[in-house]
């Protein structure tokens, strides 16, 4: 009894003995699963990145010098370093606008790119006393205030707590490493105003920066009072002052979301085309091989195998091929995504937050369900044909 041949054993032997057919079908499923998995992981990572960015932006409105808007946007969303000068007197002027509850300013400085590993890095200086944008997040991560010789760094800079770093010839100690945000902050070094003052007054800075005192900032963040319309306050500022760009933070993300929607549409179209093509290909291969195997099925029936068992054999064969192709596709796609994640996030120009284990598992299960469903559906035509014939007919047709 131990050596009793089960339906699964027969299906498995069939899959193994028809290596070429199994290989071609597995390849179709492999490509489908790899594409589906890649598209799903990238889209979910971008959605997470945008959600995380919207949490981190903190302010209702940002005001920047008109010609520097794209630089600031790139620095915030993708971490592309920039140095932006904006007169500090703008803070007072903006505080006078009706509806503005509070302001906080930030100074953006790009570090010097002297050597390979010391490529340009974004430095953001902020005033801990009035900052409501990055301070809460930094305190959440480091649980202490910074001194003028300390910096807090983004997680992608490869620095560790307690490490010594030098910017513009000024030495700092890394007081903490921030958790991943998926936006430009992951490549950014945060320093308080006193620390920024040390940099500005350094010899190196004198040669490279055009500011010699701390009367300059780069961006003003505004919080709007309760009961005031953010758009109305933004319009009031834009009408009152020239040479500045006023942006509602939720709309800044709107542009990014628009880019993401474009990418998402391409991904969905690609996935649908691939699912259709793979289904057609697998259905065709299955139909052809089942026509060729009519004699084999006829013998099975004449030896007492029920049609239910035959159907089980065919469905199990499809399931085995689908599972192998899917797992191989997901493994290959997952490995490429894992190893090249930094390259992907750097080239997306969209906030990109890598998925955690649970997120990956959910996508993996979705992919398996889709491809397994497709594999089983592709056998339906063959099963209907088989159901209509009896053993003798199958033997005759197969001759």
């Amino acid at each position: 009894m131990k050596n009793k041949l089960t339906v699964f054993d027969i299906a498995w032997k069939n899959v193994k003995s028809r290596a070429y057919r199994t290989g071609v079908m597995t390849l179709f499923i492999f490509v489908l699963a790899a594409t589906l998995f890649t598209c799903m992981v990238m889209l979910t990572s971008m959605e997470n990145g945008i959600e995380s960015t919207s949490k981190r932006l903190g302010a209702d409105i940002v005001v920047v010098p008109a010609r520097y808007y794209s630089s600031i946007e790139n620095a915030l969303f993708t971490g592309e370093p920039c140095t932006v000068y904006f007169d500090k007197s703008w803070v007072e002027r903006l505080e006078e606008v009706e509806g503005v509850e509070s302001t906080s300013s930030q100074l953006f400085l790009a570090t010097l790119g002297a050597e390979c590993c010391e490529s340009l890095t974004q430095l953001i200086a902020f005033d801990e006393a009035d900052d409501f944008v990055v301070s809460p997040w930094i305190k959440e991560n480091t649980a202490k205030s910074m001194t003028d010789s300390e910096v807090v760094v983004g997680c992608d800079l490869g620095l560790h707590e307690g490490e010594e770093v030098t910017y513009y010839g000024v030495d700092f100690t890394v007081a903490g490493v921030l958790e991943q945000s998926g936006m430009g902050y992951d490549h950014t070094v945060f320093v308080n105003l006193d620390g920024a003052r040390r940099i500005i007054q350094s010899e190196s800075a004198k040669n490279f920066l055009t500011i010699q005192n701390d009367d300059f900032i780069s961006m003003v963040n505004l919080k709007v009072k309760d009961g005031y319309d953010i758009e109305a306050v933004s319009n009031a500022i834009a009408t009152k002052y020239e040479d500045i760009a006023v942006y509602i933070t939720s709309k800044m993300l709107g542009n990014v979301e628009k880019d993401m929607k474009g990418f998402s549409t391409y991904c969905k179209i690609l996935s649908v085309i691939l699912v259709l093509l793979s289904t057609i290909a697998v259905v065709s291969i299955f139909s052809i091989t089942i026509n060729e195997r009519k004699r084999e099925f006829g013998i099975f029936i004449l030896f007492g195998t029920s049609k239910k068992q035959l159907i089980e054999i065919i469905v199990i064969e499809a399931a085995i091929i689908t599972v192998i192709g899917t797992l191989a596709g997901i493994f290959a796609s997952g490995a490429v995504m894992l190893f090249f994640q930094n390259l992907i996030s750097a080239n997306m120009a969209i906030p990109y937050l890598e998925l955690d284990f649970v997120g990956m598992l959910v996508i993996l299960l979705k992919c398996i369900l889709i491809t397994l469903g497709m594999g089983c559906v592709s056998t339906i035509y063959s099963l209907i044909n088989l159901g209509r014939s009896n053993g003798v007919d199958l033997l005759k047709e197969g001759e």
């Binding site: 590993c117 490529s119 930094n342």
Partner: protein, 133 residues
């Protein structure tokens, strides 16, 4: 014969990729006055690539299955060393967005993993063939 040709072609191709890829297809940054760790890692990978090409040629010449099995074992170890060079033995730049960390090393890891998996597969195949004889 078929197995020997596939083995040889695979190892020559992956070996050439490991040896030349970091200077062409998945390049590291240009060197400045100060030579960085990633540059040394890539130089070591060139040596590993040459070794892989050499074992590819050997697997073409050698007809003895036991000897080819030993070559497979050697290639698995070489693949592991190819991964360890950039990740632990020598290393690269600290910043994750640098070319070496985002492009060159991941490409090396993937090629090395493919080499290891291929050789494990071939090892199992040859063991079966030897057992059947």
């Amino acid at each position: 014969m078929k197995n020997r040709i596939i083995n040889a072609l695979f190892h020559i191709l992956t070996g050439v990729l490991l040896a030349i890829g970091p200077y062409t297809l998945f390049q590291v940054c240009d060197t400045s006055e100060k030579i960085m760790k990633c540059w040394w890692s890539v130089r070591a990978e060139t040596g590993i690539g040459i070794l892989i090409v050499f074992t590819g040629i050997l697997s073409w010449i050698l007809k003895n299955k036991e000897a080819r099995l030993a070559l497979n074992l050697n290639n698995i170890a070489t693949g592991i060393v190819a991964i360890l060079i950039p990740s632990w033995l020598i290393g690269g730049c600290a910043k994750e967005t640098m070319l070496c960390r985002s492009l060159t090393f991941p490409a090396i890891y993937i090629i090395s993993m493919v080499i290891i998996l291929f050789n494990i597969g071939n090892l199992i195949y040859l063991r079966k063939r030897i057992g059947n004889e």
